[in-house]
């Protein structure tokens, strides 16, 4: 008997349908990954299954948890008594999903069957199950690291021994090395308890590595499903194939990533017919009229013109001819040290880096490695305690360096039109606003966007504007701090391609800061690896991948999921 059976789930919000006609089964001990980009409806599915939908959003459909039937039409009350015991939810951010004012032990105890008051031995047993020491029971969440917090959250969501655990991006907020540990732990516990796991993720690598079966979701509909080993190696749906190809490979640098055009439709933009048709290169008129349904045996696909076997060969990897760096250094950083408090460990500890004129350099590290602090010191938003930053040429002010941040939405002034924002940046470089159309064209946006405000743009478009603004004063160095981390995979590829084009065209230097090795691989030739405020290793990317020297670098490469 399946642990979870879902028939014809539909979720409807104020803006229209969020999830349409979704069927799903998960057997005991099985891991099913629900993969999708933002706006695919994957998180709303998790909320519908646990009766946690926000106000104004309703679900219909039938669910069976073991031998218990649940009619989702009856609203959240149908799940009272089942939530936690039969089906449980592990969320992305353990800092917000745990209560900040209760000790970790209390939070686990509260979730134990029968309230578990005073049952200290049981709490300690649960902590041991997630590899945490007994002292954690007396600690508050803020005293723990992100990985430990997520283990506490896991222990709490498993406390009532559910049949089904839904993990909604359970490791997305964690660093890759911690992610690996938590996923390994989850797999071990799952096996011991023979628990069904529905893993919701945007990370194809995680899905590929961990799932027995993969379901691909797009704009509220299932596009494709099949065994974990096959879905991404021989995709049937053009979307699955596009998504797979958009993901930058770690092993090679591609001259151009195959990107899917456009962006994920918002709830009110969902088209008739096949929802993917407007972005699909294979679509014809019929695709825009009739909605395909998920059909097939073990491999199922919802497409009128599915790919045939052999049609989905990996994109040919173009060994990229990388120009060697020029000799003239643009900026030299030496002995840079920075502490945010007398007792805190140094954010930067004797850091040396150089960037040559026109060179693209990467800085790779996990959270707390000091990579962002280094960028902020370079750009002048933060002042180092000691050390020097020497700029080789006489350029000062806005024309020396500019920065692109991670979250494009907050990087643009919501009250300003795109034109005003770009004109201001041009003026900062002593240029005239008449160059605004050229600037928009440079980043691949229609000139008509000048009159829009940021909230009328998609995330990818906003990031293009942020890049245009940073390029407007014609800086010698462009610093990008996790520029694609908050973007969907299909959009990420577009932005990475754009950055490569811009580097060729403008000949400016780039400092690319990221936690994602595969992403930085596609843009730079040389990287610095940072750990605990220090540069632990540096070198040419190819050599670093084939023969990492430092232990930490090795660990970092080994932790990249699904490769």
């Amino acid at each position: 008997m399946n642990a979870l059976e879902l028939v014809d789930l539909r979720v409807t919000g104020p803006g229209g349908p969020i999830v349409s006609r979704m069927d799903l089964t998960v057997a005991p001990g099985e891991t099913v990954a629900l993969v999708g980009e933002s706006g695919s409806g994957k998180s709303m599915t998790a909320k519908a299954l646990t009766g946690l939908l926000p106000r104004g959003v309703t679900a219909t459909g039938a669910m069976r948890l073991g031998d218990t039937e649940v009619r989702l039409d009856d609203g959240p009350s149908a799940l009272v008594g089942l939530r936690g015991r039969r089906i449980s939810l592990l969320l992305q951010n353990p800092f917000t999903s745990l209560s900040p004012v209760h000790r970790c032990g209390q939070q686990i105890a509260a979730a134990l069957p029968g309230g578990g008051r005073g049952d200290t031995a049981e709490v300690l047993r649960r902590l041991a199950e997630v590899d945490l020491p007994a002292r954690v029971a007396r600690q508050y969440p803020f005293e723990l690291s992100g990985g430990m917090r997520q283990r506490v959250a896991l222990a709490a969501s498993l406390a009532a021994d559910p049949l089904v655990l839904i993990g909604d991006e359970p490791t997305t907020a964690l660093d890759v090395t911690t992610q690996r540990e938590v996923l390994n732990l989850l797999a071990r516990i799952q096996q011991e308890r023979s628990m069904a796991v529905l893993l919701i993720t945007h990370d194809l690598g995680v899905a590929r590595e961990r799932a027995d079966r993969i379901l691909v979701m797009y704009a509220g509909r299932l596009m494709e499903s099949g065994p974990g080993a096959d879905v991404f190696s021989s995709p049937l749906h053009p979307y699955t194939s596009g998504l797979r190809d958009s993901e930058p490979p770690l092993a090679v640098r591609l001259e151009r990533l195959p990107a899917i055009v456009g962006s994920v439709p918002r709830a009110w933009e969902i088209p008739d017919g096949c929802v993917f048709a407007p972005r699909c290169s294979r679509a014809d008129h019929a695709c825009t009229v009739n909605t395909p349904v998920l059909e097939g045996g073990q491999r199922r696909v919802a497409c009128w013109k599915p790919l045939a076997a052999g049609e989905h060969a990996q994109p040919t990897a173009v060994a990229f001819t990388e120009t060697a760096r020029r000799d003239d250094d643009l900026v030299v950083v030496s002995n840079l040290t920075k502490r945010f408090g007398p007792d805190s460990p140094p954010a930067l500890d004797d850091v040396h880096i150089t960037v040559a004129a026109g060179e693209a350099v990467g800085i790779v590290g996990e959270s707390g490695s000091g990579k962002t602090t280094l960028a902020r010191c370079l750009i002048g938003l933060e002042r180092a305690d000691s050390g020097t930053i020497t700029w080789a040429d006489g350029e000062t002010g806005a024309r020396r360096a500019q920065i692109v941040f991670q979250d494009p939405t907050s990087a643009l002034n919501p009250a300003m039109t795109i034109e005003a924002a770009l004109a201001e940046a041009l003026r900062a470089g002593g240029l005239d606003r008449s160059e605004v159309p050229a600037l928009l064209d440079l980043v691949g946006l229609p000139v008509a966007y000048a009159r829009r405000r940021p909230n009328a743009l998609s995330g990818g478009e906003q990031q293009r504007v942020a890049i245009a603004r940073a390029l407007a004063p014609r800086p010698r160095l462009l610093i990008c701090d996790e520029p694609v981390s908050s973007l969907d995979v299909s959009v990420q590829a577009q932005i990475l391609n754009l950055m490569n084009e811009l580097l060729d065209e403008l000949g400016i230097a780039l400092l690319f800061i990221t936690h994602d090795l595969a992403v930085v691989r596609q843009v730079v030739r040389r990287v610095y690896v940072m750990h605990h405020g220090r540069v632990v290793e540096s070198g040419v990317m190819d050599e670093l991948i084939s023969a990492p020297q430092h232990d930490y670098t090795r660990q970092l490469f080994a932790s990249v999921p699904g490769r």
Partner: protein
Amino acid sequence: MKRLPITPLVAAVPLAVVAVFVVGAQWLAPDATTQDIYTGVTPPGTDGHLFGTDQLGRDIWQLSIAGAGSAVIGPIVIAIGSMMLGLLLGTLAGYIGGGLDLVLSKYADLLLALPTTLIALVVAGLVDGGYWVTVLVLLVLFSPTDIRIARGAVMAQATRPYIESARVLQLSRTRIMFRHILPNVLPIALATMLLNVAFALVAMSALSFLGFGVGPGTPDWGRQLSDGRDLIGQNWGAVVVPGLLIIITAAAINLMGDWLQERFEQRGAQR
């Protein structure tokens, strides 16, 4: 399907009526100050006087319509003035920070510690009263709330990446404050302003009731309340009509302000 917002619709009706009173007083209430001491006090329902007359024979309803102007205009001036003062000082304190922030914050704390109505009474008494003196005093006394709200909102914006981008573009502090931060703080300040209109309306009415504010003979809700106290046995309308007008107007403005504030907060949360 978007839900129809009930609150602002309910609040808009009385506010529209009051606005008509203020603008159209001379046509709606041409005889507001016409005295008729032979008639004197009459109860509501007296021929030609819906809510009766006061001891001078003035029609209560017309007097109340004519009183809308002084009841509402002063509070609006107070709220807008204190919003502008608050935005200016709050932005300076919140963005520049340091010693300036310390001085401005202490100034705001000091003003907040003072009992508003009492100070207004003392000042009005010292400089021989007058409507606009009261307005000015209340404006200054209302400003610390606006300073604090603006300061907090500015500080929340100042660490956002778009402000950091502006700093990296080497834009001047003045430009960052007034071109970038101010437009994003304005919605919150506007919602606070509406709430302040309601508070100021009550405060002004209270001062008029105590004999400060408008001069004798001028139509004003607060003054009507105070004058009508003695007549309550003969004409309850003399107290109830201006009293209800104060309550309904203040409540409607409050509802509107609350609704706006919630909307802006929701929008802020979505960003």
